[in-house]
Every structure is written in structure tokens, then in C-alpha cells.
């Protein structure tokens, strides 16, 4: 097998050669592009051409600091690469002139610097490892993100790409499966099933034709780690799948990726074509006689297809509805053949485990959850982005150290973990270690890794309603508990948020939630009550406020807002009365006006018109807090 070492040597030479030139690299993941990265790229190309600069202009994907996009990295030969954040086209001329022509990095725009090998560091720029966002991260699955060009096979091979495949092809199938078992790797899509055990089932399954399928139908609200990995390191997914294919005895693989991720699809297609061209996929891979082809299937917008049997049904060209298990896909999967199905992140872990060994992998994490996990930080958190942390780290560390705390100095209220299948974790439980079992015990779930952080202005009843509205919309309708149960629970939550809640609603919600959990056909239904049950458990007083006081303590449920006029501030200008479409505001000239709460439709039209800031509600409390607002009692 001289084939890969030859390619590796060639790619490494080309890769190292890049560092002998001045380089400007733009972060062009979807997040970077959406933030204007493509315009920054165009400005760099224009500036370099007009000033006749001899530089390499390249692109990479998102390095994780989405909150600083668009990012640009500049590296001079022998010096560390400096990552600049919040770049705009008009900053480009000065940036290039200062850093490249005058060799002075623009410190005030720099986020951090990354030293490759023995390159010299700059004095006043934070090193990546010291940058708070990264200081508690371990970058394995995400190691190439933001560091290599995702459309370059050269970059992938030069950074040890396909070495694990070469090594695996020289191993016995069962030895590979054993190594994965020993690593303790568990499914990163949410369920946490031991990966090696699953591979073992598929290996043992009877049948000449087997499939390997990658679940890239990421759909949890708040989750985008699979997109980031597919956009940033597509070859690693292919390599992980090929190793799996060899281990379980499959010769064909499918990647099921959402249609909402066009860039991921494009980069996967590029990667597959490159790998086939160099004999790393296709027939007779690396001259070993092993054949493995990978095809892409685009989803069409159905969250339920993230469920494994629904996903397979969709690949077959049907409505993506789940079916009863057993038989499990390991025995009867795609077109009735034994099928191994794992998530993107799970496959990407595989080459690292094969290269570095299961002992290295088990050195990270907790007793039952090994390795690292990629999380997406979203919501009311300062540093929104992508972070890979060791299993066992506390949620507090993720939110405050990595995530930089809560936006606008507000108070933390809850973090929703595991998307619509997960639950809310409160302040008191933030020191929980992040692993599959502790999160489940707390009424949440690891899920795919979306963390939605909420502050004091978020209403927990409203959040539960929106997660449920999601599952209700996405319920495929096949089984009654999910189809009807989600609808009825949503009706109740809508009622609570509109002020028509009744005390017995809480019991009904809990009972319905338990029934749906225990009787729904697939994971979507079985887990969809979690956001409700966990919020009722931890934030019962908020539910009670909605029901008994017809009040939303967070001031988020607009139907429950009570608009009032401060008589001390009102100058009697009558503007609010003219703006009120319901005729609820009355008063006389130069006298304080008054809002009739029974007529008020809570549209808020009065609020912006008042130049004396006399009108207030729970969401916009008036500044004079001496006198508590009188509440309407129903």
C-alpha cells in the first residue's frame, strides 16, 4: 500500500509550501457568508489585485466564533496566523497594508493568534489557548474547522486524512469494531447508543448486501454542529463511513442531509469526487480490494426524518414516517438490508479513534460518556457559536467560560438542552457534568448538542409552547398519541399564554405528557413532552402566575400584558387615545389619561407614541418603581 504514503508525502509538501507565503484566509462557512464573508473576500481579492500584492488568498470554514464573523486570518511566513473578527470590506485596505505590507498586525481588530509548528508569536495578541472561548475546549472533531480548506483534498490528506482508513483496511473487521467498543463512543445524534455495539450487530447480521448511512438530517432548533462539520471537514465524514463500511461488510453508503444545507451538500459532493479520483472511495480502495461508494440524498424538510426508520423510508422515496422497531435497521434497514446508521459527529470521531487508539479516547470524559461533544451555543448568550468540550465539563463552564455569560448583563434563567426532545436546566443544576446519563436524570437530554440559553425576559411557558408547536408541526401523524397528544397539549399551552388557563390544565398537561411519552411510536413523540414536563417541574410558579394571576412574570406573553398609564408622567396630550384602535384610552385635556383594561386589546400601539414614557407594562416596566402596578384579577 504505497499509494497513500505517496499521496500523503505529496500533499504534505504542498501544504507546508503554503506556509512559506503570505496568506489571507477568509472564513466561508454559511455563517461567515451570511455575515458578509463573501463581500470581505471580494474586497480582499480586489485590493490584492489593485496593489499587485503577492499573497495567497484562500478560504476555510467556520472556526467556531460565529459571534465574530466574518473572520479573516492573515499569516506571514514564520509568524503565527492572526484571526481578525467582525471584518467588513472597508476595513480590508488598511488591514492588508498594515499586516502584509508593513508587517504590523492590527491589534485592535485581532481576536487571537494561532501558532502552527514553531512560528513566532506576536506580543500583544491573545493566543488561541488563552482566548476564553477556547481555553476549556478540546478540538478533535472540529480540529480542521477554520484551519483547512474544506474543498481541498491536499489539506485533508496533509493533516493525516485517510490514514485511519489505510490503517483500518489492514486490520481485521472485528478488531476495528472491538476498538470502537473499547473507546466507549456513543451515538452523538442524541440517543447515545454505544456505536461499537451497533456496528457489531450489523457485522453479525445475515446478508451479502449491507448499507452504511449517515444521518445528517440535523433539525433540532438550536443545533448546527453537523452543518458546521459537513461544511468544514467533509472528508472526515466520508473516511469515518468508509471505515464503518469495511468493518461491518457494507459496500454502499448514503448521507442523508437536509436540503436546507446547500453548502454542506456542495462540499460533500466535491469531497466525494476527489476521494473517488484518488482511489480513496469507489472500487478497490487503496488497492485492497475493498469497494465502497457514497451517495448523497437530500432531505426535503421533515424533522421526523431524523428518526432512523423514517430516514431510511425517506431515502427509499416515500413519506418519511417511522415504523415499529424491531426489526432494527441493523437487521432490516434500507431496502430491507442490514444497515448501520450513525450521526455525522459519530462518524467523524471514528478516524481519530482508529489513528490515536481507544486509550487516548477514553482519557477524555466520564465513566459512561467518553470523548468530547460539540455544542452549539445559541440564545441569550454572549458568544454564540460552536464549541467542542470534553464530556463531563459542567454546563456552568460551557455557558460562562466558553460562552462568556449572558447578553446585556441580564440574569441567567434556564438553558434548554437537547432541542424539542430535551428539557430546561435551571441555575441550581448548572454544575451538572455534561454526560448522557446526568442530563437524562435531570429531565433533559444530551440530544444533538444545541444549547439555547434563556435570560430573565424569557417566559418558560412560552418556550415550552414553542418547542411543542415545533413537534406538533413536525409530527408525521402516523401514531395517535403523538398526532393528537401534541395538538391537545399545544391547545392547553396556547390557552395558558392567552390568559384563559384553568388550574386543572396543569394536571392534564402532565398526564397527557406521560401518556405521549410512554405510547408514541418513535423518538419524536416519546420525547416531545420533555420541554413541558421539565418546565412544569422547575418553573411551576410561572405556570401558576399565568393561570391564577393571568400574568406573565417575564413579560413575554403579549396577551397577558397589562398596559397602564402613570398619572404623574402623563401630560394629557391625548396622543395615545388617538392611536388606540380599541378606544380603550380615555381622559380629558391636560388631565392624566386612563386605560380601560377590559377594552384594551394589548396591541401596544399606545406605547411608542408616548413621548413622556408614561405608558408601561410588564415587558417595559415604568421607571418609577415606588408604586407597584395594580394587577387585574380575573
Amino acid at each position: 500500500m504505497g499509494h497513500l504514503s505517496e499521496l500523503h508525502a505529496r500533499c504534505t509538501d504542498q501544504y507546508i509550501e503554503k506556509f512559506n507565503r503570505s496568506r489571507v484566509i477568509v472564513g466561508l462557512g454559511t455563517c461567515g457568508i451570511a455575515a458578509g464573508g463573501d463581500k470581505v473576500m471580494a474586497a480582499i481579492q480586489h485590493e490584492a489585485a489593485s496593489k499587485n500584492m503577492h499573497i495567497d488568498i484562500d478560504f476555510t470554514s467556520c472556526i467556531g466564533i460565529c459571534f465574530r464573523e466574518p473572520t479573516v486570518e492573515i499569516s506571514l511566513p514564520g509568524f503565527a496566523g492572526v484571526i481578525y473578527g467582525d471584518m467588513t470590506p472597508d476595513k480590508v485596505p488598511y488591514l492588508l497594508e498594515s499586516h502584509i505590507i508593513n508587517r504590523h498586525p492590527v491589534e485592535e481588530w485581532a481576536v487571537m493568534q494561532i501558532s502552527e509548528g514553531s512560528t513566532a508569536l506576536y506580543e500583544n495578541i491573545t493566543k488561541m489557548n488563552d482566548y476564553p472561548f477556547y481555553s476549556k475546549q478540546v478540538r478533535t472533531v472540529t480540529s480542521r474547522l477554520g484551519r483547512t480548506n474544506p474543498e481541498s483534498l491536499t489539506d485533508y490528506v496533509a493533516t493525516d486524512g485517510y490514514k485511519a482508513l489505510e490503517k483500518a483496511l489492514s486490520m481485521q473487521q472485528l478488531d476495528i469494531i472491538e476498538e470502537i467498543k473499547k473507546s466507549g463512543l456513543r451515538g452523538r445524534g442524541g440517543g447515545g447508543f454505544p456505536t461499537g455495539m451497533k456496528w457489531g450487530f450489523v457485522y453479525q447480521a445475515v446478508g451479502a448486501k449491507k448499507y452504511v448511512v449517515c444521518n445528517a438530517d440535523e433539525g433540532d432548533p438550536g443545533a448546527f454542529m453537523d452543518r458546521s462539520v459537513l461544511e468544514g471537514d467533509p472528508h472526515s465524514v466520508l473516511e469515518g463511513m468508509a471505515i464503518c463500511g469495511y468493518a461491518v461488510g457494507a459496500d454502499e453508503g448514503y448521507i442523508f442531509v437536509r436540503a436546507e444545507y446547500p453548502l454542506a451538500i456542495k462540499r460533500l459532493q466535491t469531497a466525494i469526487a476527489q476521494a473517488e479520483k484518488y482511489g480513496l472511495l469507489g472500487n478497490n480502495i487503496l488497492d485492497t480490494g475493498f469497494n465502497f461508494k457514497i451517495k448523497i440524498k437530500a432531505g426535503a424538510g421533515a424533522f421526523v426524518c431524523g428518526e432512523e426508520t423514517a430516514l431510511l423510508t425517506s431515502i427509499e422515496g416515500n413519506r418519511g414516517m417511522p415504523r415499529v422497531r424491531p426489526p432494527f435497521p441493523a437487521n432490516q434497514g434500507l431496502w430491507g438490508k442490514p444497515t448501520n446508521l450513525n450521526n455525522v459527529e459519530t462518524y467523524v470521531n471514528v478516524p481519530f479513534i482508529i489513528n490515536r487508539g481507544s486509550d487516548w479516547y477514553t482519557s477524555m470524559g466520564t465513566e459512561e460518556s467518553k470523548g468530547s461533544k460539540v455544542f452549539c451555543l445559541t440564545g441569550k448568550i454572549n458568544n454564540t457559536g460552536l464549541a467542542e468540550v470534553p464530556m463531563g465539563i459542567s454546563l456552568r463552564d460551557i455557558i460562562y467560560s466558553v460562552g462568556g455569560g449572558i447578553q446585556n448583563g441580564k440574569r441567567f434563567k434556564a438553558v434548554q438542552i437537547g432541542g424539542p426532545s430535551g428539557g430546561c436546566i435551571r441555575e441550581e443544576d448548572l454544575d451538572l457534568p455534561v454526560d448522557y446519563d446526568s442530563l437524562t436524570a435531570a429531565g433533559a437530554m444530551m440530544g444533538s448538542g444545541g444549547l439555547v440559553v434563556m435570560d430573565e425576559t424569557t417566559c418558560m411557558v412560552d418556550v415550552a409552547k414553542f418547542f411543542l408547536s415545533f413537534t406538533q408541526t413536525e409530527s408525521c401523524g402516523k401514531c395517535t398519541p403523538c398526532r393528537e397528544g401534541t395538538k391537545r397539549m399545544l391547545e392547553i399551552l396556547n390557552r395558558l399564554c392567552s390568559g384563559a388557563g384553568r388550574m386543572e390544565d396543569l394536571d392534564t398537561l402532565e398526564r397527557l405528557g406521560r401518556v405521549v411519552k410512554n405510547t408514541a411510536l418513535c423518538g419524536l413523540g416519546q420525547t416531545c413532552p420533555n420541554p413541558i414536563l421539565s418546565t412544569i417541574l422547575y418553573y411551576r410558579d410561572e405556570y401558576l402566575a399565568h393561570i391564577q394571576d393571568k400574568r406573565c412574570p417575564a413579560g413575554a406573553c403579549s396577551a397577558l400584558l397589562v398596559y397602564q398609564i402613570d398619572p404623574d408622567k402623563c401630560k394629557g396630550c391625548s396622543k395615545c387615545a388617538k392611536n388606540c384602535p380599541a378606544g380603550a384610552i380615555t381622559g380629558g385635556k391636560k388631565k392624566p389619561y386612563f386605560i380601560d383594561v377590559d377594552k384594551c386589546i394589548k396591541c401596544g400601539a399606545c406605547l411608542p407614541g408616548c413621548q413622556f414614557e408614561a405608558i408601561y407594562n410588564d415587558a417595559a416596566p415604568h421607571r418609577n418603581n415606588c408604586r407597584p402596578a395594580t394587577r387585574r384579577t380575573a
Binding site: 454559511t30 455563517c31 451570511a34 455575515a35 460565529c66 459571534f67 464573523e69 440535523e218 433539525g219 433540532d220 432548533p221 438550536g222 443545533a223 448546527f224 452543518r227 437536509r258 436540503a259 436546507e260 444545507y261 446547500p262 440524498k297 437530500a298 432531505g299 426535503a300 424538510g301 421533515a302 424533522f303 425517506s314 431515502i315 427509499e316 422515496g317 416515500n318 413519506r319 418519511g320 431496502w335 452549539c376 445559541t378 440564545g379 441569550k380 454564540t384 457559536g385 460552536l386 434548554q416 424539542p420 444545541g450 439555547v452 434563556m454 424569557t458 412560552d462 418556550v463 414553542f466 418547542f467 408547536s469 415545533f470 408541526t473 413536525e474 408525521c476
Partner: protein, 148 residues
């Protein structure tokens, strides 16, 4: 433009190719015109009911005619807590249509969607699949002006 028949036939030999065929038709025509269903049913050897069932099961596919610009507004929880409700209202007011409708001139369709996986910059909308992040109601006129 290729005919619907030609587009669908090119996927005939692909296992489970009906969804790919629908994607291709929608790419060319912006929605699935009525004849798509019958042609797909015949090509893939399924009943028209089943072909229609597949076309209507998936939110990304549309059997109703849509505008030149399809604006999908995310209303999932992360976007919601970031103020999606006001954004949705702003689009509805600016275009004088409700979510799910198309403007009379056939230029814009407004759709509500679930999470599109760009939660790093909530609230998010997509226009013909291109994401626009960190949106606020004040940006609505400028974003609409880009659609020419």
C-alpha cells in the same frame, strides 16, 4: 427550460429517486406544477395518491404556485426568543400578505418554517434558500429591496 417529463425521467433509474426528481422540478419551476405528480407516479411505478402524498409530506416541496422570491421565516424557539414574532409581523405588514400567502404580483411568498440551522445569528430568514441572520424589523425594507 427542460420539460417536467425530461427532468423526472432523468431520475428514473435512481433508487428512491422520486424526491430527487421533485427537488429538480422545483428548482426549475419554483414549485411542483400539477402534471409533476402524474408523471412521477408513472415514472416511479407508484399510484398518483402516493406520489402526491410524498410531494405534500415534505415542507420544502410545494404543490402550490409560489412567488419568485420565497421568504421563509424561522419560528422555532431560538428565533422566537430572539424576537421572530415582531420580524414576521414586519414582513407581513411590508408585503401586505399573511404567512403562507403570495403577493398578487407573484413576486414574494411568505412561509413560516422550523429551524434552518443558522441559530448562531437569530432571528433568521431565508430568501430562496440564502440565509439572512440577526434580522430585525427595521432591516425588512432593505432586505426586500435586494430582491429585484
Amino acid at each position: 427550460m427542460a420539460t417536467i417529463q425530461d427532468i423526472i425521467l432523468s431520475f428514473r433509474d435512481k433508487p428512491g429517486g422520486i424526491i430527487e426528481a421533485y427537488h429538480a422540478v422545483q428548482k426549475a419551476y419554483n414549485y411542483l406544477p400539477e402534471e409533476t405528480i402524474a408523471v412521477a407516479a408513472e415514472t416511479f411505478g407508484v399510484s398518483e395518491a402516493q406520489a402526491f402524498g410524498v410531494a405534500t409530506f415534505y415542507s420544502y416541496l410545494s404543490v402550490a404556485k409560489r412567488g419568485k422570491y420565497v421568504i421563509r421565516m424561522c419560528e422555532s424557539a431560538p428565533c422566537h426568543i430572539a424576537g421572530a414574532e415582531a420580524l414576521i409581523k414586519a414582513f407581513e405588514t411590508a408585503l401586505r400578505i399573511k404567512a403562507g400567502e403570495t403577493t398578487a404580483d407573484g413576486k414574494f411568498t411568505l412561509e413560516l418554517t422550523e429551524c434552518v440551522g443558522q441559530c448562531q445569528g437569530t432571528p433568521v430568514i431565508t430568501i430562496n434558500s440564502v440565509p439572512y441572520v440577526n434580522m430585525n424589523p427595521e432591516q425588512v425594507p432593505a432586505v426586500l429591496a435586494l430582491c429585484q
